[in-house]
């Protein structure tokens, strides 16, 4: 590398001093990139006087000292946060420039206390977790608490694990209720905010210290008289990230309350804030906008889709209700009746198993059969119902091609091109695979029991040769499937976040075509009711990425959505009662959606594009 020595450090640099690399240079250990490399100017300036003096004096250092010096410089460089060290350890994350810049800004400028208010779908979670990971890797965070609305705990758990290699114990873990108080003593915790603020847990959670606290859907902290606000205020924390796409929902004081959690005094006292920034008669219209903008700009980042240049084509859906034949109706009724009977006598005993059985009944008889075989093979489970279980098992055996299969065949014929068929259970995967083979429809398979090499081969064959990819829930996690723009949900997860994950496999950055989602369900099934709410009432399938999180997060519900659905199903005493209960659930979601849309509009008006990087 040429060394430029100069007496005058301010000398104008000449264009010919730019060093460029040969166009076809080999990259050691990597592929040969034939595209021209960008020209990177590199200058090394040496103080000639000091240079000569060192040589003349013969002041030489040892190799060990030299290496220590280099290491010291490297550490000092990392300390500046210019170079983020977390990137090398991230898996399945494709971060974008605006996300990386946001991470740097939070670390460097906001010193780890910030309101992350990106528009929906831009990856606030990724940004927050990059900040967390960076701190952890630098040894600056050795304990952290992540608080989210209950329905979002499982999603955070997965993001943490799959993308960031962080395995946080969570309030969703089966062991949570047995651990009791010791859970809250863990170094790293992912928890439902509702559980954290409960009368029993509040004192335990607020007693200890955390290096970092992250709160998702932080608009729930808008009111300082609520337990949510009091909890975050009482937590002993060093770094704090508040995540929300809608920091103001009804009143500018909500913003004041959020900012005060982050940086007490930033917006002075409540009455001073009111006096200076609020307009009498319209609590959403700020005065002294430019001053407010300056103050908010010191604690808040809000990236917009326009700024981030994230433009994903819209998605559309079609739900197709199938009329099951008599055997299928009989099977579904038998399973429902059995579950209701057990529920009445046993209460919540075997709830997970029964819930699973009911979901399998909505998927395929093969899926039911696999579970029943396992139950029947055991001598300690549901003994008193053995006879009925055998009868259901026999009924499953007698059903070969289902009404959904027949419709699936028609759909594949009607909508040519690449299509991903999602199924929930391995039994259903085998069943549909055999059905497709019997119809001469060549397809790729992808499921969790495959090794990585087979998975790659199957994705490659889907990309190059086959039009159908049949896959289970985890289908394509981290793999690029945007070359396909059609999804068919052969069955339906009961948790809307899981449905969103399926859609998210192809409805993501990089998709160039409109996405089409087909949903199959049997009339009168649990899935039929779920689709009535999610598709027809709130139009979830055609939302922008991330909006369903906002809506679910707004429901004041401690239970997971799938739990709520199951409870309605087994506890309703009549068809009428069931319809009413599902109707009420739908209305709650509708109200949550309306509230979200209202806040979205208000925040757009308030913040515009003024708080980007």
């Amino acid at each position: 590398m040429p060394i430029e020595t100069s007496k005058d450090e301010n000398r104008q640099r000449e264009p010919e001093e730019i060093i460029s690399y040969p166009e076809n240079a080999d990259v050691p250990g990597g592929h040969v990139d034939k595209s021209p490399l960008p020209e990177i100017p590199i200058y090394i300036q040496v103080n000639p006087v000091a240079f000569k003096k060192s040589l003349v004096d013969g002041r030489l250092t040892s190799l060990e000292n030299y290496q220590l010096t280099i290491e010291g410089h490297r550490i000092r460089f990392k300390e500046t946060f210019e170079s983020l060290i977390c990137f090398n350890s991230l898996k399945n994350v494709r971060s974008f420039e605006f996300q990386e810049e946001t991470t740097r800004k939070i670390l460097k400028t906001f010193h780890g206390r910030a309101l992350l208010a990106d528009e929906v779908g831009l990856g606030k979670t990724i940004e927050a977790l990059m900040v967390l990971k960076e701190y952890i890797q630098r040894g600056m965070v050795k304990s952290a608490l992540i608080l989210t609305p209950t329905p979002l705990v499982s999603q955070w758990k997965e993001e943490l694990k799959v993308k960031f290699g962080l395995n946080f114990p969570s309030t969703d873990d089966p062991g949570y209720y047995t651990l009791e108080q010791s859970f809250w003593k863990e170094d790293f915790i992912l928890a439902s905010i509702n559980l954290a603020k409960s009368k029993k847990n509040f004192p335990i959670v607020t007693q200890r210290e955390y290096d970092m606290v992250i709160v998702d859907e932080a608009h729930h902290l808008k009111n300082r008289n609520t337990l949510n606000w009091k909890l975050i205020n009482a937590l002993k924390k060093r770094f704090l990230l508040l995540l929300t796409a809608t920091p103001v929902e009804n009143n500018l004081m909500e913003l004041y309350n959020l900012v005060t959690l982050l940086k007490p005094g930033q917006l002075k006292t409540a009455s001073a804030f009111r006096e200076k920034f609020m307009t009498r008669g319209d609590p959403t219209d700020p005065r002294n906008r430019s001053h407010l903008k300056d103050l908010l700009g010191q604690v808040m980042v809000r990236n917009t889709r326009a700024f981030a240049k994230v433009d994903i084509p819209p998605r559309f859906s079609q739900t197709i209700k199938v009329d099951p034949d008599s055997l299928e109706i009989e099977l579904y009724q038998k399973i429902t009746t059995l579950i209701k009977d057990i529920n009445e006598t046993n209460g919540s005993g075997h709830k997970l198993l029964l819930k699973n059985l009911l979901a399998e009944a909505g998927s395929s008889p093969r899926a039911v059969r696999l579970t029943l075989s396992r139950i029947l093979a055991r001598r300690d489970m549901l003994l008193e119902h053995k006879k009925r279980l055998h009868a259901i098992n026999n009924l499953c055996r007698s059903i070969h091609t289902t009404s959904k299969d027949r419709l699936l065949f028609k759909l594949i014929r009607s909508y040519p091109g690449k299509m991903i068929l999602f199924v929930k259970y391995h039994g259903t995967l085998d069943h549909v695979s055999e059905f497709l083979a019997s119809k001469g429809i060549s397809h790729s398979l992808f499921h969790g029991k495959m090794d990585n090499r087979s998975k790659d081969e199957q994705i490659q064959s889907f990309k190059e040769d086959k039009d159908i990819l049949l896959t289970t829930e985890i289908g394509g996690e981290g793999r690029n499937l945007q070359f396909c723009h059609q999804i068919l949900n052969y069955d339906l997860p009961w948790n809307p976040m899981k449905i969103e994950q399926r859609i998210g496999r192809i409805h993501r950055i990089g998709q160039e075509q409109e996405v089409m989602i087909y949903n199959l369900c049997a009339a009168g099934s649990v899935e039929d009711y779920i689709l009535e709410i999610l598709d027809r009432k709130i139009n979830m399938f055609e939302m922008v990425i991330g909006e369903i999180d906002m809506i679910l997060g707004r429901i004041k519900e401690e239970k997971d959505f799938s739990e709520t659905v199951y409870d309605i199903w087994v506890n309703s005493r009549s068809e009428e009662e069931r319809k009413t209960a599902f109707g009420q659930l739908g209305s709650r979601l509708m109200r949550a959606k309306t509230s979200y849309q209202k806040s979205k509009e208000l925040d757009k008006k308030l913040f515009g594009e003024n708080y980007e990087l």
Binding site: N65, T69, Q137, G139
Partner: protein
């Protein structure tokens, strides 16, 4: 949840201290260090210190090694200014 990065810092600290003539002894929380007098003056600490590599907080005589931590800053500061020529044996 110890990270690679912590490991690197720990290695740097040990290497630096030994290079400066400190005596180190590992224990379950990290290591104990007996510093030469001049180094303890540079650090502004006593000659006998404990260095924590886990998540325990700092206390009197107990220091941690993290980005931005007091002791690491002192160590980096001590090597930061050095930038002379390396004398290598002819065989290198």
């Amino acid at each position: 949840m110890n990270s690679e990065s912590n490991q690197e810092l720990e290695e740097f600290a040990c290497r630096f201290l030994e290079n400066q003539g400190a005596v180190l002894e590992r224990n379950e929380r990290g290591f104990e260090a007996l510093l030469p007098e001049n180094l303890s003056e540079v650090f502004g600490t006593s000659e006998h210190i404990n260095i924590n590599t886990g998540s325990d907080p700092e206390s009197e005589g107990v220091y941690s090694i993290n980005y931005g931590s007091y002791l690491l800053e002192k160590m980096v500061g001590a090597v930061w200014w050095r930038c002379t020529f390396v004398g290598l044996p002819a065989s290198v």
